[in-house]
Assembly symmetry: C2
């Protein structure tokens, strides 16, 4: 276990060196996903993080954060709508660590089932209480908090997605990342801008949860209410930025674009029909954005962030897409 | 363009050197697919060839065969229920070559649409007439025949799947390949047995199209009627072996197991739900076999051969799986 990036480092931006250091812990548990040409959608290649063991890129941040824990750590606690909790549970189990996940009561059953299957203990609360409950358990149970995105080790882990994209022969003109809490966009932005400053990093949000676009436009972190953001089907994009991820997006993300619910739903169906990938709505955000705006983006890589979708919803969207 | 393995070589078994030579042509158009852990199914990793640009491993054989054509070749003709025709059309288009595909009238629409989209010309005939029609067009149109499996260059191309599986850190105990015409099993068997003789190569067929199992048991090639083999949902497994692929299977495949239609259908649903992969019924044969028999197979890699499935069927199987 390495040195954790501690409280003193919290507003320091994650560097390429941090991400390269995270890469070895990530390689132990994550798949190195290929880039898949998606000619049906134009000059697009997909980075299918839905194929990770836990169905999402989150395994990378969890692996990096757990690798950086002190040897004496008794266990970890987090809050998550599903993918981060499942990833942390998966990695914690492989290290014999206790893992408690605070889950908003709106989380889809497919995700809560998957979290339980890792051996993690679940605590279900209303969406607005998830962070405070995790904070309380941290103290009462003596656990270490591994938040889903507001942590430099987690961001460094997610950044390995960018490292892998840039390790291909030619740097793309554009990289598309979904934005929820901003951990993936922060890490990918840090990696891409360090290795290929000319490559544009574009974040994608649902129109109904466009708090990051709003924040970048206003020049400071803007928080949307959970009532507002919970309207979108893209459950991974309902969370808001932290000061740390806002600082990364402000430094490394060129632009944030938004897509409608109908565009997200269509993209889920098209990814299954045309690229044979099962994606969750949040995972389809970047493809939806490319179909909407991509003509001027040149060679583009879209991160398909996750694939944990309810089968009934997938079946519905599969039949709706053309 | 390299030297084609000509008629004099037709009963010579494909070697590791042939497969290694095919690898560079394959790398130009195919994705190097990763191995995906599928813990939900035991000690199983998946080789997801459904993620290839044409949705199937067939792009490898097509690339190898077209790379070996003489410079003067005016175009190619083949017979295919879909995936090979699409692959050949895709690679031919990238070389500016004409491509004619003879298609059995039972081919699913998703596959005929995909073949047409590559620019290939389609000729639809009853299933029993596909080989004779392709042979006739070869002479009347002056085209070179690239059969879907009965050709050493095609087999060498498919063998690169085995080369990639064995390039991982540790050789698996078992490799599972679906068997239709036998091109994939021939090539993978040749590669695996050359690189790791102790690794078992197990072919998988539908019970309703078990002509290869029958052939290996009887020690010579047994042909089942199209009426018989066309009963299975796994359309890629309806074809029978050639003398060339029978000779490879006899030399390199340890065993062939069979699965029922219900087991195939369940595996399609499970691959989508648990591994986030859209597979066609033939692509799910190996997973079905692992779920049925895999407890004693040790560390196993299953080739998911393709993913071109009708959306209505996928939606149905997705909801049926648990």
């Amino acid at each position: 276990m390495g040195r954790a990036l501690g409280d003193n480092d919290r507003m320091r931006l994650v560097t390429l060196a941090d991400i390269e250091r995270a890469a070895s812990a990530v390689a132990e548990v994550a798949v190195r996903t290929p880039l898949l040409p998606a000619d049906w959608a134009g000059r697009l290649r997909l980075k299918p993080e839905n194929l990770q063991p836990v169905g999402a890129f989150k395994i990378r941040g969890a692996a990096a954060a757990i690798a950086a824990l002190p040897e004496s750590a008794p266990g970890v606690v987090t809050h998550s709508s599903g993918n981060h909790g499942r990833a942390l549970g998966h990695v914690a189990a492989s290290r014999g660590l206790r893992c408690v996940v605070v889950v908003p009561d709106s989380a889809p059953k497919v995700k809560t089932d998957a979290m339980r299957a890792t051996g993690a203990e679940l605590v279900i609360v209303p969406g607005s209480q998830r962070e405070s409950t995790a904070e309380r358990l941290r103290h009462s149970e003596g656990l270490l908090l591994v938040p889903p995105y507001d942590h430099p080790d987690v961001i460094a882990g997610q950044g390995t997605v960018g490292l892998e994209i840039l390790s291909e022969a030619e740097a793309p003109d554009t990289v598309l990342v979904p934005v929820g809490g901003g951990g993936l966009a922060s890490g990918v932005g840090a990696a891409v801008k360090a290795l290929s400053p000319r490559t544009r990093v574009i974040g994608v949000e649902p129109e109904l949860a466009a708090d990051a676009a709003d924040s970048l436009r206003q020049g400071h972190r803007v928080v949307w209410s959970t009532e507002a953001t919970y309207r979108t089907i893209a459950d991974g994009a309902r969370t808001t930025l932290s000061e740390l991820t806002f600082a990364h997006l402000d430094a490394f993300v060129d632009e944030i674009v938004t897509v409608t619910e109908a565009e997200i739903r269509a993209a889920v169906g098209l990814l299954a029909r045309r690229s044979r990938l099962v994606s969750e709505p949040t995972g389809a955000l970047t493809t939806a954005a490319h179909l909407k705006y991509g003509d001027s983006w040149g060679d583009t890589v879209a991160v398909v962030s996750g694939g944990n979708v309810e089968p009934t919803l997938l079946a519905e969207l599969l039949m709706a897409a053309t």
